[in-house]
Structure formats: C-alpha cells, structure tokens
Symmetry: C2
Subunit: 225 residues, 2 copies
DNA sequence: CGCGATAAGTTGACATCGTCTACATACCTG
DNA sequence: CAGGTATGTAGACGATGTCAACTTATCGCG
C-alpha cells in the first residue's frame, strides 16, 4: 500500500529533448511534466477521470501539491494534456488501419471503424475524457488539444474523400458526410463506455456482433446510392 | 442580486398529490424534493452540470445545506433525479413524433430522428447530464433512472420493430438494429453538445443540413437491402 | 385529545480539493 | 562568480460533500 511514493529515480536528469516552444522540461527535479502525464494516464485507466486530482497526481509524482502549477496552469489544462495524448493514440490506430487497407476503400472503411471502436473499448476512460464533459473545453483556447482532435478526425475525412472519389461513398460536403459516418461509430462507443448499453453486457458475443453491425451501418449510411 | 432567496411562499402546504410509493412529500416546509429538482433543472440549463452543488441547490431552495439529504441520499442521487426527468421529457417528444406519423414508417423514422436531435440541442446540458459521466451510474442501482432511460429507448425499439415488419428496415435482432440506428443520432448529438463539431458553429445553415443528413444516414444505415 | 414516534430541517465539524501568494532552491547564462 | 529565472515548497482561503447530533413539526394511534 504505497502511501508515499518516493521520488522516482529517473534514469537521466534529461533536459535533452528538443525545445519546440519556449518553456519546457523541468530543470532540477527530473521532467515533472511527463511524469504527471504518465501518472495521470495510469490513474485514469485504473480509476477514471474523477480520480485525476491535481494533488493526487502530485502525490504520485512525489512532489508537493502546487508543483504541477509550474507545468499546467490549472487542473483542466492537465486533463487537456492527457486527453491530447489520447487523440494522438487514436490517430495512430486509425492510420494503422489505413496503411493496411488503403487500396480497398471498403476494407479501409471497415478496418477504421473497428479501430475506432477498439480504441473506445480498450481505452474507455481515456475515451470518456476526450469526448465527455470532464473539463471545460473551448476550441479556441486549448488549441493544442483541438489540433490533436482535428488530426484524428482528418484521418476519417481522408477516408471519406477517397471513398467519394472511388464511388463507394455518396457525394456531398466531405465534412458533413464524414460527420455522419463518424457519428454512428461515436454514438455506439459513447453509449457503450457510459454503460448505456446494458442490453449487451454479460453477452460479449452479442456485443461483438452489434459492433460489427454498427461498423457496417456506418458505411451503409453514407454509401453511394 | 438575490443573495438569500427568502423561503418561497408556497400556494399550499400541499401534501395532496397522490402517494404512489410510501414515503413522500415533506411535512412542515413545503415539498422540498420537487423544489430541489426544479431549481436543479433551472440551474442546469443556465450553468451546466458542474454548477449543480448540493449546497447551491439548498441555497436556491432557501433551506439549510444538509436539508437535501432528507430527500436524496447523495449528490449523485439528486443528479440522477434530474437526469430521470430528462428521459421522461425525451420519451414525450419521441412519442409525439410517433403519434403524428405512425402510419408512414419512413416519416415516423425521420420525425423521431429530428425529435431526438431537437431535444439534444434544445436541452443540451440536460442531454449531457443524461448520457455523460457527470455522476456515477450503475444500471442495477439507480433503477428508477435506468427504467426511465429504457422507457425512452423503447420508443425507438417500437419504431424499429414496426419498420422491420413493414419491410422498411432490415431484419435482425431488433435490439442490435435499434442500437445501430440510435448510435447515429446519439453520436451526432453527443459530439455537438460537447462542442466537438466546431466545423459547424457559426454556420447554422450547414448545421441544419448536416442534422438532416444525419437523420437520413440513420435510416439508410439500417434500411432493408 | 394527547403523546410518542418519526419525518424534516438545522448547526457544527471534518476531510478534501483547486488555487493564490509568498518564499526557497537549483540551474543556466553572461 | 553573480544574478536571473525556472522550478519546487509551505501556508492559507474558500468551497464542496458528507457525517453526527440536535431541534422542530407533523402524523398516527390509543
């Protein structure tokens, strides 16, 4: 029962990491910023977003309660950082589906859909944090988070545009069509991670079939007719 | 600037309201339970779910901070009560769509879809509370909330079953098909109320078109083929 | 009609949290 | 080596949810 995590013995003092902006990477105590993010991701997975307190994260990182304020201007900013990592990961899995099936648009579509669903179920708490109302989110602030989200969304838009050109998917504003296709996947995932599909719990086989139906539904909903 | 709301002068002492369960209706101070729910719904609409503090609600109702505990065992229970009212309202608007178009299944489907979207946009904060992670939700506890949710969902299942019989919608497990159709609507609404569709903000005309596309997508996704 | 039980409301206290201000320390740069 | 700045710490404040103990009003029953 670890009440007090002793300060983690970092491998390197490590201020060697490229300085893309202006102010980064702690100097005399190891890189707290990433330590906080890592602890947060860990805690998020184990206990959910409500457990992500600034003081708790500080405790886990072995620093004092107000230390995080040197790296995040508020709790929301820290949550935004964690959510951002989620969007990066989501984009990765979507790109992976693309690279495996880029030639066949229909296969690409289905693979991307399953990747999205797989991410939501595999990182349920992360998914909730990314899309739920756990923090204040104003797109024109949180620009970094916003861009990460757009980066993930863009992979879907790319898929839709390609599929429109090949005649698989209906014509029309690519944004609107992308949102329509995305909505189907997202709605299913959102309902599932928030436990609103208790019809399916305890029946993993039915859940799998429903997930596949949803992936197909997403495609059929926007298929060219 | 009402700092202290004086105790509301109730029209009647009012313990005359049908006693469906066993323990209800406050005795010596007016009916606090409903006053709290009403204040909560009001505050929810104005300020969002985070503003729904037990103490704040008590303040608005003109009672002391711990008085709500005589009617709700915790803050979550109060939120659940408010969310439950939302599901009742949602069911109402879905039933209204049904009664206006029951004969034509396709019209019924589209009307129900638009009603769902209309509810989400018209009661955005309520919608977030109902489906987001603002409170702990375990279906086997919160049975009242759970049933209210199922009541609303059932209107969609009825629609799907009827549409399957008339050949509009594909065959298959009605639950799974209902979830697939619902997912499309819900995903769009969820993304919108959480401000994840900033592509559309400031362009209400595009938003309207996208909403209609989504309603159609929901149907096309499960249409018989 | 009166009296006890009980529902309803109040006050006080506690632990926790996010955040602010002021202070201390380590590191880098000139 | 000196000074500045990035980083970390301690203390305090107001706010919240919840518990325990106490008070008051209302109901039900003999």
């Amino acid at each position: 029962m670890p009440f007090k995590t002793p300060r983690k013995p970092l491998a390197q003092p490590a201020p060697a990491k490229g300085r893309r902006k202006a102010v980064q990477e702690p100097y005399h105590h190891g890189n707290l910023r990433e330590a906080l993010l890592d602890a947060g991701i860990q805690l998020l997975k184990e206990q959910g977003a409500e457990a992500l307190g600034l003081r708790e994260l500080a405790r886990q990182a072995g620093v004092s309660r107000t230390a995080p304020y040197r790296h995040f201007e508020s709790r929301d900013a820290l949550l935004a950082g964690i959510a951002e990592q989620g969007f990066v990961k989501l984009r990765e899995v979507l790109l992976q589906a693309r690279h495996q099936h880029e030639a066949d648009h229909e296969a690409w579509f289905i693979a991307a859909s399953k990747a999205y669903i797989g991410f939501a179920f595999g990182y349920a708490e992360h998914f909730k944090l990314m899309f739920g109302g756990y923090m204040k989110y104003e797109p024109d602030q949180h620009t970094s988070l916003h861009e990460a989200g757009n980066g993930a969304f863009q992979t879907l838009v790319d898929l839709i545009v390609a599929s429109q050109e090949s005649g698989l998917v209906m014509k029309g504003d690519p944004m609107a069509v992308s949102i329509a296709a995305w909505s189907t996947l997202h709605g299913f995932c959102s309902l599932a991670v928030h436990k609103r599909l208790d019809f399916l719990v305890g029946n993993p086989e039915l859940l799998t079939r429903t997930a596949e139906l949803v992936a197909r539904t997403s495609l059929e909903g926007v298929r060219a007719r």
